[in-house]
Symmetry: C2
Subunit: 360 residues, 2 copies
């Protein structure tokens, strides 16, 4: 087992990464305020791992309530969130009860937001079961639900007490979701870790084959990168925005197609290529660099082109982005491979050309 | 104009109290990040003050969007909150836009919670227009909506950048709401300010007559008390719970009757008498002390008995309280007039007797 620390002062917390962690109550117990938890999961992950987690906890004397939500980004909405509140209130959970989010990014985002809001804040623990959640969404305290007019528009910065990434849960992950997680793994290499990018160039097929040793390494390096960025800029006043490479274009894809049509990681992959095309037009990357990125995503079975929504629609959807400031779109671009940059001055013509170059 | 400061480090903010403040853009401008605001108000306060506030801001070059919500505690729910999000997104408000809550406690609670959640947090300003909001709910950062199973169950601790209490808005306040506000004013005297309690004994009729000088004094002393408590215990780990004198019983009344039947301050008044009865049974107050409190509330035209919900129903509703810890009800009681205390050991029989003594 590897352990990292997210250095956030009195809100610091550990990330444990390894095998068989769902059986280890001793990793969880020190982080509970009382011997009560409420587990939030979904109808895909629940049947696989809920009973096992519950047994681990109950054997240690912890009483566990639970709610099983429908799976999918399309359910990351208020009515589904409210099912968590209904459960918490029906079970008379207190603000000292700990909420445990067992599942992928959607479960973590909704469980975390419910924990942030229930009685104005209860403790929570992330047990991510997808690669995407293990390397990205479970770390850093971003929680949210979607609004019909924009993704993640309603949410909170709210840190977990603990993140438990059990690699064994990746054995049951569909191939498409493994790929989606790799999009975020590759992102860390692109924005701030050239050495890791080199490692990925050499080891991508091991990750696709779910080699446990390679997975632990990739998750650890990804989480270390994320933890460093979050510790420096918890509420995204500056550097943290770098983590959104490909996300402004990607959110437009997700919203434009309807939530759930493409996986988040797939949209990020296509969005990253749009950002790379734009970086090339600004003279920061050469064409070989763009192709280098595309080749890596293709080896991870990820799309390198967005859907044909029409450029106007892309621009309209991007204008809703949370990184818009004073009416101006701030984009995460690449100065070089391994060096992300936040840029608010890209000419509209270049943005349009970048989107067009990477639409099917 | 009087100005107080809520000392919360980098989240400190001023409270301005006085007349004609709605016309003074120079009090608001220093707290805006950009020259854009989104005003949240309701269909009672909006027709009275929205145009005036908008004119003040627009004359200073600030662009103001707005949404007018239906009035009343019964609308402090998700569908109404969502109307704020709809407006913010339709108007393309950014996370640097400032939300301004113009109205009473419900508008402030919902506006504040919307600001806490929109894009994971936008700045907000409280402009309370009821006595209750000016002395209590606008200060301290508690925001929330109700859930059918419990009041204020879904919310956040989220501090405003500024509180602007314009006494002139109290001229249009219905008498019943003035009284409801006085319940919270009297509360500060009871829990921690014996000197202020004495002043209230001598000046209650001046407040009922809306004497501006008396109102400014009562609001200033109330806000000072609240600001001191909040600065010492922002997220209610300890002392802040004292501010809930009468609230555990009171919330049971509000939920039991259905939101909006009794005003919050009315329920708090009846709840405070239940807490006083219980304190008497525990030997802390004598009967004269309880009658002293009842007399003060009666002079403020407030109820000193709760509705006949049945003791069982009271107990059931109180078990949902946010102050329940490890299954145990923690009540705010009175050691003496002017000295509140948080107590988790009151015998059930005494709680029952106190409720019965103060049911109609």
């Amino acid at each position: 087992m590897r352990t990292l620390n997210v250095a956030l002062g009195d809100r610091a917390y550990p990330i444990h990464i390894g095998r068989g962690l769902l059986d280890r109550a001793e990793l969880i117990l020190p982080h509970l305020k009382t011997k009560r938890v409420a587990i939030v999961t979904n109808d895909v992950v629940g049947p696989l791992y809920l009973d096992r987690l519950r047994s681990t906890l109950e054997a240690a004397g912890v009483r566990a309530a639970s709610v099983v939500l429908p799976d999918g980004e399309v359910h990351k909405d208020w009515p589904t969130l409210n099912r968590i509140f209904d459960m918490l209130l029906a079970e008379r959970c207190e603000r000292s009860t700990t909420l445990v989010a067992l599942g992928g990014g959607v479960v973590g985002d909704m469980g975390g937001f419910a924990a942030a809001c229930y009685q104005r804040g209860m403790p929570f623990i992330q047990i991510p079961t997808t690669l995407l959640a293990q390397v990205d969404s479970s770390v850093g305290g971003k929680t949210a639900i979607n609004h019909p007019l924009g993704k993640n528009m309603i949410g909170a910065f709210y840190q977990p007490k603990l993140v438990l990434a059990d690699i064994d849960t990746l054995a049951t992950l569909p191939a498409r979701e493994l790929s989606a997680g790799l999009a975020e793994v590759i992102k860390y290499g692109l924005i701030r870790d050239g050495e890791f990018l080199g490692w990925l160039q050499h080891n991508l097929e091991r990750l696709m084959a779910r080699d446990p040793e390679a997975l632990v390494h990739a998750i650890e390096v990804s989480c270390r990168n994320k933890a460093e960025v979050v510790a420096a800029d918890e509420t995204e006043q500056g550097e943290r925005a770098l983590l959104n490479l490909g996300h402004t274009f990607g959110h437009a894809i997700e919203t434009g197609l309807g939530y759930g049509e493409w996986l988040h990681g797939e949209a990020v992959a296509a969005g990253t290529l749009m950002a790379a095309e734009l970086s090339c037009r600004l003279g920061w990357l050469d064409e070989a660099g763009v192709e280098n990125i595309a080749a890596l995503f293709e080896r991870a079975a990820l799309p390198v082109r967005g859907p044909k929504l029409g450029v106007e629609r892309y621009l309209e959807l991007m204008a809703h982005d949370k990184k818009v400031e004073a009416g101006r779109l701030r984009l995460v671009l690449l100065r070089a491979l391994g060096q992300g940059v936040i840029h608010g001055d890209a000419p509209q013509a270049d943005i349009v050309a970048a989107i067009e170059a990477r639409c099917r």
